[in-house]
């Protein structure tokens, strides 16, 4: 973490919350959660609410599918923290080997054609937004998703375009696999808001 005040907490209340949650959960509270507490008159609460809506709100996609989308964006953006955090949640609802295969090459992975179509669309959005066209969207729709589901996938891609960038820029501490797994449990119980 390149900004120590985020790690510590910027108010007495936040420092106490960070210490308490770390103690009760038995893991160092991840940097993503410390950022969520920090400078919360700025964009944090709104970003948290949008993340909650995109990742846990009503959708034709399951929670695991959306977490796989987030981990995929993290792979394309080379964000080791987000790859770890979101694949750890995805495997709570999908087989580990399936998640690993999808992150390595979603086109050949044993996932639905609909999910492959969504990943193909959000890969273009992630890597080359200037190149994304209506034909790319039509290809995704032909894979079997609704317009709402395509829009939901785009929301995950846009949000993780943001999160992966600040996670990398701030150099988030990378938890152990065991701590990523504990944090995944917290994310499933508490969500993102």
């Amino acid at each position: 973490m390149r900004l120590p005040e985020i790690e510590r907490g910027d108010t007495r209340r936040h420092r106490m919350l960070i210490a308490m949650i770390s103690r009760v959960s038995g893991l160092r509270l991840p940097d993503a959660a410390r950022v969520a507490f920090y400078d919360n008159s700025f964009a944090g609460p709104v970003l948290g609410a949008w993340t909650q809506r995109a990742m846990r709100g009503p959708s034709g996609w399951s929670v695991s599918e959306r977490e796989l989308m987030a981990a995929s964006v993290a792979t394309w953006n080379r964000c080791p923290f987000c790859i770890g955090a979101h694949s750890a949640v995805a495997v709570r609802g999908m087989r580990k080997d399936v998640v690993a295969a999808a992150l390595a090459d979603y086109r050949s992975a044993p996932i639905s054609e609909k999910l492959k179509g969504a990943l193909a669309f959000i890969e273009i959005v992630t890597r080359a937004p200037e190149d994304v066209t209506a034909d790319d969207a039509r290809d995704a729709l032909r894979a079997g998703m609704t317009l709402d589901e395509l829009q939901d996938a785009a929301a995950v891609a846009a949000l993780f375009a943001i999160v992966t960038r600040y996670a990398n820029a701030l150099d988030f501490d990378i938890p152990s696999l065991a701590d990523f797994d504990k944090a995944a449990g917290m994310l499933l119980r508490r969500g993102y808001a």
């Binding site: 390149r2 400078d39 700025f42 200037e130 969207a137 990398n168």
Partner: protein, 97 residues
Amino acid sequence: MQSIAPSGRGAVDRTLREGILARVVGGQAVAEPYDALVIRIADDSSGVTDAEVQEVLAAAGSEKSAFEIVLTAAIGSGLRRWDAAIRAIREAGDASS
């Protein structure tokens, strides 16, 4: 999604925040050392260095300001992708309706 654009209160001057949002979609450079970090975050965030963040921290004068600069560059990059995706989806949706 547009509501997450940091246009409200912040430690960083609104003009700089708006400049950063414009910069990540191809607008004019903002002042250095902010511009170098903003472009790095937009184009290759995994390549951001300690030195780049420390220079921005020194110039901005506080960790909150440095944080807001980082977050604004990241948010602008996300909004750029949201806008591109939604334009494509709407055009595909209009043609099929």
